[in-house]
């Protein structure tokens, strides 16, 4: 591609890389019982919650960091991290937006997430999490009128202990694996959603996670419960400042869908990916799991993964209820030195359960992009069905793409269909588009967006356009 693309395209800077100059209050570095007690105290938690955290911490002492991911990870010194950081004097969550520090409002405004209700996106309620605390939640009262609970998890622990107690750790047990257990011990904030029986949530619910403080890990915890016959669509977005250090984000997200309920969970992950030489960036080690507990329930994961130095996540579905459905739609883009090892697990336990996996991996630069998935049919999963499609697109010749689909089948009436393709953006396609007046970057972004279309159109409308732009920006500088 000598002639076409010899121009040096200047790479657009990571747009969200700024730091908010705000005084923060951190608890001392390190991981020990005192730190956990302090976090629990800061959150004003009841004893049962603290006990739960401490039991997780006990487990953690005998666990080690998993090493099997197809990623080169610098060793993390867990004693050299801050586990809790909040804006100074943030004793209690402000009751109204008028009480929120203007600097914080400005931050979210800059990120494109205005929190003032007259300015917010119509039809989208937002919970804004800044480092370890939720700073504002919009449309809370309006949702409350129909019985929908949408609040920070720290608030839910105090106001709705019966729900939290019942469901927290019911999908991701405290014993799960190192990072999930670490999260159970030190989690700070995240969102809590409860949709009552028969209610179709009339708004998109969303949480915007922002890391601001340095040397600080973010340990979000989100719990979403859809009661019988209810429906909710939830979206999360994430960004962080540009820094030379690697920062850890280890989240746990649990979803529970009861009989005839449906949860649609979308992620637009745009954590700072590091610079073009691979310095800095977020380590995004996340555990996301949904339980289709009731019959005819449905959980659908859609993820657009463009950021982070390392992404390591497998949003999964446990299909326990008969006739339940699990879906996973993913676009993972890696550029420069980014590494992504992502995919899903579909665990079929109930009869007539169905799952569908569509994964689109795009690798550019010197990056590495792996799809890793497991489809498992248990003995009782009669007539279970899975369809898996994994497509990889390579941009340039120095990147890597891997597909590791595993299956376990103990049911003799089930079926698995698997398709996988690997392609390169062809010079012919680029030339064709350029002959019609698109420059090299526009041509590439058109082709890549076409490649991801099936997944992008699963996003809520309000975010699909943004996601398309993000896909193009993530690949900037990779032509030629």
């Amino acid at each position: 591609m000598n002639k076409v693309s010899k121009d040096n395209f200047t790479q657009e800077k990571y747009k969200y890389g700024f730091v908010t100059e705000i005084e923060s209050e951190k608890i001392p570095k390190g991981l020990n019982e005192d730190v956990i007690k302090l976090i629990s105290k800061k959150k004003n938690e009841p004893d049962w919650m603290l006990d739960w955290r401490l039991s997780a911490f006990k487990r953690l002492e005998n666990m080690s960091v998993p090493k099997w991911a197809k990623a080169e990870i610098d060793e993390i010194d867990f004693q050299d991290l801050y586990y809790y950081s909040s804006p100074k004097d943030f004793k209690e969550k402000p009751k109204s937006l008028d009480e929120v520090d203007p600097k914080l409002l400005e931050t979210y405004e800059k990120l494109g997430i205005p929190l003032k209700e007259q300015k917010v996106l119509a039809g989208v309620a937002v919970d804004a999490v800044f480092d370890s605390v939720s700073v504002a939640t919009t449309f809370k009262e309006k949702l409350n009128e129909i019985g929908v609970i949408f609040c920070p998890i720290s608030e839910a622990i105090q106001k709705h202990p019966e729900l939290v107690k019942k469901y927290i750790g019911s999908v991701i047990p405290v014993t799960d694996h190192f990072y999930a257990t670490l999260n159970s011990a030190v989690f700070s904030d995240g969102s809590f959603v409860y949709i009552p029986k028969g209610v179709k949530c009339p708004m998109e619910l969303s949480t915007y996670f922002r890391i601001n403080a340095s040397e600080t890990g973010q340990f979000e915890r989100t719990l979403i419960i859809a009661d019988v016959g209810s429906y909710v669509s939830y979206l999360e977005g994430c960004t962080a400042p540009m820094r030379d250090e690697n920062q850890l984000h280890a989240a746990n997200v649990e979803l529970v869908a009861l009989d005839d309920a449906e949860i649609k969970y979308s992620t637009v992950q745009n954590w700072y990916p590091g610079d073009e030489n691979g310095k800095g960036g977020i380590y995004n080690f996340v555990t996301k799991r949904g339980l289709c507990k009731g019959k005819n329930s449905k959980i659908s994961w859609t993820q657009i993964e463009t950021g982070s130095a390392i992404t390591w996540k497998y949003p999964s579905c446990i299909l326990r209820g008969d006739n339940s459905i699990g879906e996973f739609y993913s676009v993972a883009i890696t550029n420069n030195y980014q590494q992504a090892d992502t995919g899903t697990k579909m665990i079929h336990l109930g009869k007539n359960t169905k799952s569908r996996i569509i994964s689109k991996g795009i690798s550019a630069g010197k990056s590495s992009n792996t799809y890793r998935g497991l489809v498992s049919f248990h003995k009782k999963a009669k007539n279970a069905k899975n369809f898996t499609q994994c497509d990889s697109l390579l941009v340039g010749s120095e990147c890597k793409a891997n597909t590791i689909p595993l299956t376990e089948n103990s049911s003799n009436s089930s079926s698995i269909e698997h398709e996988a393709t690997t392609s390169k953006i062809s010079d012919e396609q680029l030339f064709y588009c350029m002959q019609r007046g698109l420059d090299a970057e526009e041509a590439q972004s058109l082709i890549v967006n076409g490649f991801c279309k099936e997944v992008l159109q699963k996003l809520p409308m309000e975010f699909a356009v943004e996601a398309q732009k993000l896909v193009s920006i993530s690949l900037e500088g990779s032509v030629g």
């Binding site: 010079d427 350029m434 002959q435 007046g437 420059d439 526009e442 058109l446």
Partner: protein, 242 residues
């Protein structure tokens, strides 16, 4: 408007065009005929700036400006349109959004605002009708699963939308049945005017019976061996190239 002077072009170290000279005036239609491997498609690709078509020496001016130093997209924005012999498929990209995007790229280069969706739809309907293109073709992915005829018509549609000053057609007639050929030729004839020039590359007389050229050039071994009016095309059709 187009001057080609002593042009030498090689592809993968093999010289294809040898000392080619060609002048095309405003509003003229030139046909290029010649046997396989004579360099017909090479001239089309070279003018459009396809990678790996290396210009060893020579000069090309389009509307008084040096063409060869420009990127392919700049050549398009400057009014050069190449209708592909084998139009390329773009999976996942709907034809309508693709057409709108290329129209907007040209508008942007003229410092115009992006076209309004309603206005675009109106124009698209009008121009599709001329070519007998059903509107549902535009909700399919660009050229993916299109028949040979649909692909060629889609090329002519783009040509019409982008308003080029020089149109190069690389065997646009291949893959068209008689009816489609006639519809396509009619649409192309409507695009003829005093300002717009054409280079029509073809093996066959039949397209030239619908679109009458002002000049016919015969290519052999990478250069023009004969030039005449449209009667030359009929002679070649009867007697062959030798």
């Amino acid at each position: 408007m187009l001057e080609i002077k002593n042009l030498n072009v090689s592809v993968e170290e093999k010289q294809i065009l040898k000392n080619l000279n060609l002048n095309i005036g405003k509003g003229e239609v030139h046909a290029i005929m010649g046997p396989n491997g004579s360099g017909k498609s090479t001239i089309a690709h070279t003018l459009a700036g396809k990678p790996n078509y290396n210009v060893d020496s020579g000069e090309v001016n389009l509307n008084g400006e040096d063409l060869l130093s420009k990127d392919p997209y700049e050549r398009s924005l400057n009014g050069l349109f190449l209708a592909f012999q084998y139009p390329i498929e773009l999976p996942g990209v709907t034809n309508a959004s693709y057409l709108k995007q290329i129209v907007n790229a040209h508008r942007k280069s003229r410092k115009e605002t992006p076209i309004d969706a309603g206005e675009f739809l109106k124009i698209l309907k009008e121009k599709s009708k001329l070519l007998d293109i059903p509107m549902d073709m535009h909700s399919r992915f660009v050229n993916a699963g299109f028949s040979g005829g649909e692909k060629k018509k889609n090329e002519v549609l783009q040509m019409d939308l982008l308003n080029p000053s020089l149109i190069i057609m690389d065997e646009t007639d291949s893959g068209l049945d008689v009816d489609a050929l006639k519809t396509t030729a009619d649409a192309i004839n409507k695009l003829r005017n005093d300002e717009r020039s054409f280079i029509i590359i073809t093996h066959y007389l039949r397209l030239l019976e619908y679109i009458e050229p002002d000049y016919v050039h015969v290519f052999q071994n990478g250069s023009v061996i004969d030039t005449g009016d449209k009667t030359l095309a009929s002679r070649i059709d009867q007697e062959g190239y030798s």
